[in-house]
């Protein structure tokens, strides 16, 4: 691979990343190519389709999240708080991921690369929760999947319009903290089954 080709690939990834952040995932490939300063041909030589480009960018983002989490796991000495510190960092990054996550939910997660990252994410969450449980801060039955649920909620709940206030971030974290730290309190379901009759 020629070195200018490599450079173009990276500029495309960066440009796509920025454009998705700023204008959502519905920007045209043309605009992305323009932003990267290359032609459409070059874009499609590097990524067979727009979908593949989106998946590539998403994978980079998840990779960054994994990296952040792993570093924190190694460096933060506070067993009780490491999970929440991580979640806080995650929410701060949330802006950047919302738009992407919303379109990514469906078939894209089937790609082997994504599957792998999914597993890695669960492992990371598991390790964090384990430390919290050891310190008595996290309820013992909380699972990595629970945490993934909450994280997804965190990434999704807000309208894509405007940046979130620090206030809102704190509020949401507080709710999640409560969800993870309380002992479970179950009861049988009792609502009626779903039906769309009027």
């Amino acid at each position: 691979m020629r070195k200018d080709a490599q450079a173009n690939r990276e500029r495309l990834l960066e440009a796509a990343d920025r454009m998705f952040r700023e204008h959502g995932v519905e920007v045209s490939v043309g605009e992305i190519a323009d932003a990267a300063g290359v032609g459409r041909g070059t874009l499609f030589r590097n990524f067979r389709s727009k979908e593949e480009l989106i998946a590539a960018v998403l994978s980079v983002r998840v990779g960054e999240l994994l990296e952040y989490g792993r570093e924190l796991l190694e460096t933060d000495p506070d067993d009780a708080e490491v999970t929440f510190t991580f979640l806080e960092g995650l929410v701060r990054r949330q802006e950047e991921n919302r738009a992407l996550l919303q379109t990514a939910t469906d078939e894209m997660f089937a790609a082997p690369e994504m599957q792998r990252q999914h597993v890695e994410l669960l492992e990371l969450f598991g390790a964090m929760l384990a430390r919290g449980k050891r310190a008595g801060a996290i309820r013992p039955e909380a699972t990595a999947t629970d945490m993934l649920m909450l994280v997804k909620g965190l990434c999704m709940f807000a309208p894509v319009e405007q940046p979130l206030s620090a206030e809102t971030i704190l509020r949401h974290l507080d709710l999640v903290r409560a969800a993870l730290t309380t002992p479970a309190y179950s009861r049988p379901l009792r609502g009626e089954p779903a039906s769309h009759a009027a």
Copy 2:
């Protein structure tokens, strides 16, 4: 208005509702018109644009939710549990709303009809939470907005692919229950600010 015109409008709403549920909001207006057994012209005579059709369907759905919640508020005598019973019913209906909610988040909520329903939803939540607080089941600082956050998370977190298992529903409800019943436990933010440097 002629009575066949009225009937067509309703068939269109029903068909759109069903198609959005089954194939997501990206189905073409052509398919919706076909499903309703009318021509495209008829569709556009009733709804000036596709967006207006989506908004109409969404409004119906939210209306149903409001109706369900209000009835529950009147008939369920259990102050401590009414909020959670409501949430359970809501999650059961969630399937039907996910796809719609995901596209609706942005400009559509600006419509006056939607604004009104938004306020009504907050009022409903407020009333439910008030009963829970009176019974000592809900933490006193929980707000209707908190509840809306959690509800949105509930509607969004899962991939749109398959129906949710009863297990998953229970699990998620359990997390939300924990979030609303625990006393708040705040601490200052300490993570680093968001940055997308590698």
